[in-house]
């Protein structure tokens, strides 16, 4: 395959979809302040974000676009105070997602659904500090109240770490499937895709 450089239009597409994606993630993340929703973010966010992400994938034809979006998500998380873990995780998962989609020649719908799953791993990155150093995590969040901390500690034991990782992938795939169906229903008919 000929190696093509990303042009301005591709990069703008990345920007547009990143903006939509981030707004949705941000709204959902606000739910996390009800303790029970905290692990559920890893479930709800990938499912809903799968819809714009699948539309984004139809615009992806060159190497790098998914990776850039992943890095931008990490940057935005850094700026919104979620720590630097998402950038590291995002760089790796973005590259993996890129590889998955590339293996389908940037066309395959099945691979696109898988890509949506792999891409969602970056969300799991936000939870890493909860598992590696939970005491430190809460020492900076004393003002949430002791009850919040207790509840969250009890629903976030160490085995939740791999569970959330898998949940992110599975829900990303579910989101991808929903996105695929919605796209067929709305966008293909309207001629947008």
């Amino acid at each position: 395959m000929k190696k093509e450089k990303l042009n301005g239009k591709d990069l703008m597409n990345v920007g547009i979809y990143s903006a939509i994606y981030f707004v949705i993630v941000f709204v959902i993340a606000m739910l996390g302040y009800i303790p029970i929703f905290m692990p559920l973010i890893c479930v709800i966010a990938p499912i809903i974000c799968g819809i714009p992400f699948m539309l984004f994938l139809t615009k992806v034809k060159k190497f790098g676009m998914i990776l850039i979006m992943s890095l931008i998500m990490g940057l935005m998380m850094l700026l919104t105070g979620m720590g630097y873990y998402s950038i590291i995780v995002g760089a790796i998962s973005g590259l993996a997602a890129e590889a998955v989609y590339k293996s389908g020649g940037y066309k395959s719908v099945v691979k696109a659904v898988l890509t949506s799953g792999v891409f969602s791993i970056w969300m799991w990155g936000n939870f890493i500090p909860l598992f590696t150093n939970i005491d430190q995590y809460f020492s900076t969040r004393q003002d949430y109240g002791q009850e919040y901390i207790d509840t969250l500690t009890s629903i976030m034991p160490l085995w939740m770490c791999p569970v959330l990782f898998i949940a992110a992938i599975v829900c990303g795939i579910i989101g991808g499937l929903i996105g695929k169906n919605l796209m067929k229903k709305h966008f293909v008919k309207a001629g947008i895709v």
Partner: protein, 251 residues
């Protein structure tokens, strides 16, 4: 035309800061106020709580300096009320009520400053200035373009979402109506399809301005550090310096 809070109005901006300073400020805010860095027990806690309180006053000052009095005072009143609730009401309540009040007040006092600062940064920086600042920082164009598009796009997404929301509520698709299940689909899809359209227009507009060409772009925006920038940078620097000191156990 009424101007929304996120849109930039160049004519009456008041005191102008360099975009790089604003970014540094956002990062500092995220680290100390949102992330609550360094707030351990003992002396460090006192030092870093006072740093974070100082930072919470900043959005108010910045908003005043950029002549957005209404927003500034709304922020100040809301923040102070929540802080008072947090300090005076929480010790005398118990159980679920305490949990609710503590949660709301704690979360609002923690998030409000950063959200207001974020809104201030987006509303007071033009895309051009932002691009110029990123170019000065030698960020790759592959990151500059998506980021500046995002910058430009946040207010649009907000506006569109509000209009769609109103339209859907009129049709009875919302929490109150019968069609709760359709809520998501009927909001996301219109949002996506209008974003696609706006996006296409945006790229056409940007291509006419030479974005994505092979030539190095020039920029008419004059950005640079002024006295007000240096003051803010010193403040942020001091906060991070103290954080480093405390990490190595010297505080």
């Amino acid at each position: 035309m009424e101007c929304s809070i996120l849109q930039t109005n160049i004519e009456k901006r008041g005191l102008v800061f360099d975009p790089r300073t604003k970014l540094l400020l956002l990062l500092t805010m995220a680290t100390f106020v949102l992330g609550g860095a360094g707030q351990k027990i003992g002396l460090g806690r006192l030092v870093f709580s006072s740093i974070s309180s100082c930072l919470c006053v900043l959005p108010f000052v910045l908003l005043l300096a950029s002549k957005k009095k209404k927003v500034a005072f709304t922020y100040a009143v809301l923040y102070l009320v929540m802080l008072c609730v947090f300090i005076f009401v929480t010790p005398i309540t118990k159980g679920l009520l305490n949990f609710l009040i503590l949660g709301t007040a704690g979360i609002i006092t923690r998030f409000l400053p950063s959200i207001v600062l974020g809104a201030y940064v987006v509303s007071s920086t033009t895309v051009s200035e932002f691009t110029a600042a990123m170019l000065r920082m030698h960020v790759s164009e592959k990151l500059i373009i998506p980021l500046s598009v995002m910058f430009r796009f946040f207010p649009t997404v907000g506006d569109e979402f509000q209009s769609i929301n109103l339209a859907m509520r009129m049709r009875g698709i919302g929490f109150g109506g019968k069609n709760v299940g359709k809520m998501l689909e009927y909001r996301l899809i219109p949002l996506l399809s209008c974003s696609v359209k706006i996006g296409e227009e945006l790229s056409a507009a940007a291509l006419t301005r030479g974005l994505g060409g092979n030539v190095k772009r020039t920029n008419v925006c004059e950005i640079g550090f002024q006295i007000q920038d240096i003051l803010l940078i010193l403040l942020c620097g001091a906060a991070f310096f103290l954080l480093i000191l405390s990490t190595f156990g010297m505080l």
